[in-house]
């Protein structure tokens, strides 16, 4: 098997192992009902993580994701109060997300600044805007929200695919297409693999970098839309530290933080592993939420160490 699939295989193995463990411990765990719920409950994290996958594949990082989710939520809620249709508000916010992401990408490349610091500025800036818009939780009361909450596709067994899960899967399909079947996607891997070489091979670094962060912004904003519809409200603190969960999902999904290696599909499983851990601990009943974070942390740690060993197998250049 091609070595590049090893991290993804490890991710899927962990997911299946956790799922089967759950099934052995609790009745009714190993079912499409649980699976469907995990997909729906974690849809916004996974959507945000898909965008972050592009950024991390290129060797960058995006810390503005959580604040973007919060800002999209409060704006949608306020626009709803002003009488906008949620879909129109969503379209506006997604456009904003793309533009803001593109701006971040431009600053990163044009000024040659670390993505960490540029998107950290974005984290503060966007969160500040949230508080400008509103200081309290604002409900979204529109018929469309009810429609969104009730729409579902039945799965075999008792499970259902809810709207959030459907949006997430559709956006995943789009991301897989962009990453693996376009020149742009190929360039993203090249920049993450070796930026200087990519430049010398004729890759347009600026256009690609702007595109990468624009995609990041698109997926963050989409995650914000899904989160707002899922909770049917906007809250200025929503999505705090969510960027870190998204990064964790990407890394658990087999993408190397150093960039250049990984697959978008892995992020789906990475996000689901995080969801599965919380579901398992909730099923257990007597363990508190501290254990969700502790086990996520331990697993993340184990994966990073695993990657460290896998990455050396890609580094096969001559020893001279």
């Amino acid at each position: 098997m091609n070595k590049k699939y090893l991290p993804l295989a490890a991710t899927i193995a962990v997911f299946v192992a956790l799922f089967v463990t759950g099934g052995a411990m609790y009745n009714n765990f190993l079912s499409t009902l649980v699976l469907g719920n995990i997909l729906a409950d974690n849809a916004f994290i996974i959507i945000a993580a898909i965008g972050a996958t592009f950024v991390i594949l290129s060797g960058g990082i995006d810390l503005s994701i959580g604040s973007m989710i919060g800002l999209v939520g409060v704006c949608m809620a306020v626009l709803d109060r002003m009488g906008w249709h949620p879909l129109a508000a969503a379209a506006l916010m997604i456009c904003f997300g793309i533009l803001y992401g593109a701006l971040q990408g431009f600053i990163i490349d044009f000024c040659d600044i670390q993505p960490f610091i540029v998107t950290l500025a974005g984290l503060f800036l966007l969160r500040g805007l949230c508080f400008m818009v509103t200081l309290e939780s604002v409900p979204i009361r529109h018929d469309f929200v009810d429609l969104y909450a009730s729409a579902k596709i039945p799965l075999p067994g008792r499970g259902v695919l809810r709207s959030s899960a459907i949006v997430m899967l559709a956006s995943l399909a789009l991301a897989i297409f962009i990453a693996h079947f376009t020149r742009f996607g190929n360039s993203v891997y090249a920049i993450g693999g070796d930026k200087e070489s990519a430049r010398l091979m004729g890759v347009n670094i600026r256009r690609t970098t702007v595109g990468i962060y624009a995609i990041g912004g698109f997926y963050s904003a989409l995650a914000g839309v899904v989160y707002a519809l899922y909770t049917s409200s906007g809250y200025p603190l929503a999505g705090s530290t969510l960027e870190l969960s998204a990064i964790a999902a990407v890394v658990l999904g087999g993408t190397l933080l150093t960039g250049g290696v990984g697959m978008v599909a892995g992020t789906l499983f990475g996000g689901m592993i995080l969801g599965l851990i919380s579901t398992l601990i909730i099923f257990h009943g007597s363990l508190n939420s501290a254990w969700i974070l502790i086990s996520s942390g331990v697993l993340l740690f184990a994966f990073i160490v695993l990657h460290r060993f896998l990455v050396s197998s890609f580094d096969l250049r001559g020893t001279s």
Binding site: N2, R183, D194, E196, N204
Partner: protein, 508 residues
């Protein structure tokens, strides 16, 4: 001036000039490339080869001169523009993405539309076609990093070649290839040449120059020293063009010590070597003796010094320092056993630019002392001012950041730092690189003085006259091998050049 009856020139670069802040990188350089010819471009580090090539390929703007392509003046503003006009470059380091497959690497590049959809079926066909041009048959789905460097080099060439490529520039393509891999590359270059391509071949392996090139140009210090058909330039003339610079002020003013006057053996290396880096060599350094290391760029001068120091880990041989067997040492052990080292690239390996002279001098002493036993400030200051006086470092005081000193004075700080640990053996790699003539002479005098004080010195240099002026004994290097030693009155420029040229026929 041009070869009279030959075909029309494809590229004519005329009177090219380029300056960087404080440095004149190129002045008045001409280079003419003919179709169906391989043109070797030679010169030591910093001679201006890369700058010239970057100007040709649009990576750098020129300050003066003009470039004509097929007779038409051109002015490339980016490498992309040059590539579109048919000038492709393969840079020194293999420029590919190791974790990506061969197909994906070959699909990279300036393309039509950012969101262009890739059909991997077509991309694979295109990749196979590109590789077929070079007679390369490999599994294109494997990551590039899993192939040998030679194959990677060929893939990089395949990436650079388009249907309309008429000029191919190869910067040190054979630097990390073995003999057989080089042969493969050369047969492909000959094939491309027979199809009328103009090829620029930058290298420092003289054997390869004569094996493959039709025409040779030599650069030195940003100027063109000479150009001509390979068949018209002898090996000795070529070496003399490359390294035979006049030293001017420092002539060999001292008598080379006769071999009977040797002091005690300070360092004995037996069969030290490392695969693909340097063939095993024997070397003895005596107290009160300067041993020069002569050879062309890439002959293994730096590697030899670093093997002695332990900065490159040897995989064979043993080292004896001051009569004690130290096996294969680490730089730290070397320091403890009295070996000090001044590296070639003082900015990257020798000095911390933002720290003061005093702090830089203290670095290796502190390392020797261990981090817990801090050297008292008083003692530091005394030592620093001693060194400033002893080496005549031009500075108002010891607290000036090293970055603000001139090249020559920076080099003296490197020396001061090495001397601060009171070494018995001093290894100097290119002690006079990039410093002006006056400082140059001072450093040579300093080397002689240290030697008279009983220190054993090893001086690696690309400047032959410097070696002749400073050494009691000279070890000559060629093709990553120590090929011999000369001592005493035999140390003459011509003798060394003859050895480097390899009068025995110069096999690879």
């Amino acid at each position: 001036m041009n070869a009279s009856a030959g075909p029309a020139a494809r590229v004519e670069m005329h009177a090219i000039g380029k300056s960087f802040p404080g440095v004149r990188a190129l002045s008045g350089v001409d280079l003419t490339l003919y179709p169906g010819e391989i043109h070797a471009l030679l010169g030591e580090n910093g001679a201006g080869k890369s700058t010239l090539i970057k100007i040709l390929t649009g990576a750098l703007d020129r300050d003066a001169g003009e470039i004509r392509l097929d007779g038409e003046p051109v002015d490339f503003r980016s490498t992309g523009e040059a590539q579109t006009s048919g000038i492709s470059t393969v840079y020194q380091e293999v420029n590919l993405i190791p974790a990506m497959s061969v197909t994906k690497n070959l699909a990279l590049g300036p393309s039509d539309g950012a969101f262009g959809i890739i059909s991997w079926r077509k991309a694979r066909a295109a990749a196979r076609q590109k590789l077929a041009r070079l007679n390369l048959d490999i599994d294109i789905e494997q990551p590039v990093g899993t192939f040998s460097v030679a194959v990677q080099q060929l893939v990089a060439i395949a990436h650079a070649l388009d249907d309309d490529t008429s000029v191919l520039v190869l910067d040190e393509p054979t630097a990390s290839l073995d003999a057989q891999e080089t042969a493969t590359l050369f047969s492909i270059l000959r094939d491309l040449k027979s199809r009328g391509m103009a090829i620029v071949f930058i290298t420092h392996f003289l054997d390869q120059v004569y094996e493959i090139s039709d025409r040779i140009s030599v650069l030195r210090n940003g100027g063109l020293v000479g150009t001509g058909l390979a068949s018209d330039i002898s090996r000795q003339e070529l070496i003399s063009m490359m390294i035979g610079r006049e030293l001017g002020e420092v002539e060999a003013t001292f008598a080379h010590k006769a071999s009977e006057e040797k002091g005690t053996e300070k360092l004995v290396a037996r069969g030290i070597g490392r695969k693909r880096t340097l063939e095993p060599f024997d070397l003895t350094l005596h107290a009160g003796e300067v041993v020069g290391l002569a050879g062309l760029l890439g002959s293994g001068r730096t590697e030899l010094t670093k093997l002695v120091l332990g900065a490159i880990r040897a995989d064979s041989g043993t080292l004896e320092v001051g009569g004690k067997d130290v096996g294969r040492n680490t730089p730290r052990q070397s320091l403890e056993s009295g070996i000090a080292f001044c590296p070639e690239d003082r900015k990257a390996e020798g000095l911390v630019g933002d720290l003061s002279i005093r702090e830089n001098i203290m670095l290796s002493m502190q390392a020797k002392n261990g981090w817990l036993r801090r050297v008292p400030r008083k003692q530091q200051e005394r030592l620093a001012s001693e060194m400033i006086d002893a080496l005549a470092i031009a500075t108002p005081d010891a607290e000036k950041p090293v970055r603000q000193l001139s090249g020559g004075n920076q080099q003296k700080v490197v020396l001061a730092r090495a001397l601060a640990s009171k070494p018995e053996i001093l290894l100097l790699d290119e002690p006079t690189r990039g410093i002006d003539v006056g400082a140059h002479a001072e450093i040579i005098m300093l080397i002689r003085r240290l030697c008279e004080d009983g220190m054993a010195l090893l001086v690696a240099s690309s400047e032959l006259d410097e070696i002749v002026a400073a050494s009691d004994r000279v070890a000559v290097m060629r093709d990553r091998r120590k090929i011999g030693e000369i001592a005493g009155e035999d140390i003459k420029r011509d003798n060394i050049i003859r050895m480097i040229a390899g009068e025995d026929g110069g096999q690879h």
